[in-house]
């Protein structure tokens, strides 16, 4: 089973200005959304999980490997991170070379890398762009390239940073399916995300961060039942949850389909 154990970590970029403090959390199996306002420390947190940053105090174990003791390269086959800004991640001249770069670096043969790369591009719906220069693509398609290049590496743990950025309805539906499929395959999926509707529809567990701390952690439905706390940390409830409350219903609804089914049964 894939897991990340975070043991009481703290981190700061500048002395005296802690970005993260006393975070203690265990990720396993459940797909998990990490939510919180801009500047809450979410991106820093996932960079620590990936081993790009090392905690000042405490330890992080990625499938048993302490990130303090292994290099990013050694961890790369265990954990993949899709950057928020695809421009920070993409540097090859063609899409296919880009998606083959990671796989080849963790020991896949060229042929394997090509197959996994093409498969990942197909999953993202952009296999027809394989020979293009990534920088000739739109920002939203470039985001899909950055996701495909991590999928192609087939790491057992994948972290997404704002995957729905710039995606339209169909793009979001595709991402939702990919994340659910990965989950079903046993991959540990974590994602930073600002789209509360997407969180409600996709993730089993949700973690709320505020000012470098985890302030709420639990099953997504339970997390969104804490209306006041969600507002206090400058977030908002999913639209379906808001609608359920407006309709005077006591339960916490996560999707519009849940609401429709509930009210149809009642009628």
């Amino acid at each position: 089973m894939n897991e990340i154990k975070v043991e009481n970590i703290s981190f700061s970029y500048t002395d005296g200005q802690p970005v993260l403090s006393n975070i203690d959390v265990h990720f396993r199996q459940e797909s998990t959304a990490i939510i919180g306002q801009n500047g809450a420390g979410k991106t820093t947190f996932v960079k620590l999980l990936k081993g790009l940053l090392k905690p000042a105090t405490g330890n992080i174990y990625v499938n048993g490997m302490n990130t303090q003791e292994y290099t990013v390269a050694q961890l790369a086959s265990q954990i993949g991170l899709v950057f928020q800004n695809p421009n920070d991640q993409i540097f090859k001249h063609t899409v296919i070379e880009e998606v083959m770069f990671g796989p080849k670096n963790i020991g896949q043969s060229t042929e394997e890398a090509r197959q996994n790369g093409l498969l990942a591009l197909e999953k993202m719906g952009i296999v027809h762009e394989a020979d293009k220069n990534p920088y000739d693509l739109s920002l939203s398609d470039r985001k899909l390239v950055s996701i495909a290049s991590i999928l192609a590496m087939k790491p057992p743990i994948i972290i997404f940073d704002e995957p729905t950025m710039g995606q339209d309805y169909l793009g979001k539906e595709r991402l939702k399916k990919i994340m659910k499929d990965l989950r079903a395959e046993g991959v540990l999926v974590l994602s930073i995300i600002h789209d509360m509707d997407f969180v409600a529809e996709t993730f089993e567990r949700t973690i709320v961060m505020n000012q470098g701390k985890i302030v709420l952690d639990g099953p997504t439905r339970e997390v969104f039942s804490h209306e006041q706390l969600i507002r206090d940390v400058y977030l908002e409830l999913p639209h379906a949850t808001q609608l359920g409350k407006q309709l005077g219903l006591k339960q916490t609804f996560l999707t519009v389909d849940e609401l429709i089914n509930f009210n149809r049964k009642k009628q």
Binding site: E162, M165, D168, H194, Y234, E236, H239, Q246, L247, I260
Partner: protein, 282 residues
Amino acid sequence: MKKIIVENLKYKYPDTDQLALNDVSFEVEEGEVIGIVGQNSAGKSSLCLALTGLIPHFFNGAYGGKVLIDGIEVKTSTITDLSQKAGLVFDNPFTQMTASKYTVYDEIAFGLENIGVSREEMIERVDWSLKMMGIENIKDKNPFDLSGGQMQRVAIASVIAMRPEILVLDEPTSQLDPQASEEVFRVIQQLSQEGITIVIAEHKMEKLACFTDRILLLYEGKQIDFDTPQKVFSRDDLHDYGVVPPIFTTYCKAMGMKNKNNNTYPVTLTEVSSLLGGENNE
């Protein structure tokens, strides 16, 4: 007064076969807020570029029809002239940073330096923009040390500092948390009340439903509809164009909750509750 007039606009990027914009025509009044919706590659970004002159002047390509910005024809004008009328916020804030300035404060002043605004006014405008976007606390930071969400707010601030009469925003909230997105839309509302005309491409339908006067629906470069959010989001064929209405509208459609006065479905939470309130009173 008509601030934007688009007549039979057609456009094709160089070295492509398909029209990115195919016969688009619409008119926008002063102070209106227009939302552009459509699936990716429907032409939303291209239209934003066409309203600010980057199409055709920067991108070249094949161009037909006419775009008038406050009476100035885009095709026969220059980006320099148009930049003083219409401001554009790019979809990727990274693209918007000049990389020639070391602080957020100077970054926001960049456009003003280029149009020869006096020092006093420049300071006043930069301070105003920082305040509007709620980023006074990061004014001394390097623009490239910011988070995606912070950079996105700097990008918007640097454009509103120019006080454009027409503000065009291409997915300005894609990296913002819910509260910050709401704040950006409130700023947009405030600017429109001051008479600024606003065009915004967005995927957040619930926000557009609350804050826009009219919605332009695009599909494969073609204009499908240009009407109130209620009318556009009530369309039965919306799904065919890769667009879903606000969740509130989806619910009301499924439950058959129609506003009988104008034969449309509610598009905001407030409209749902007033519809329910109305029924309860009957």
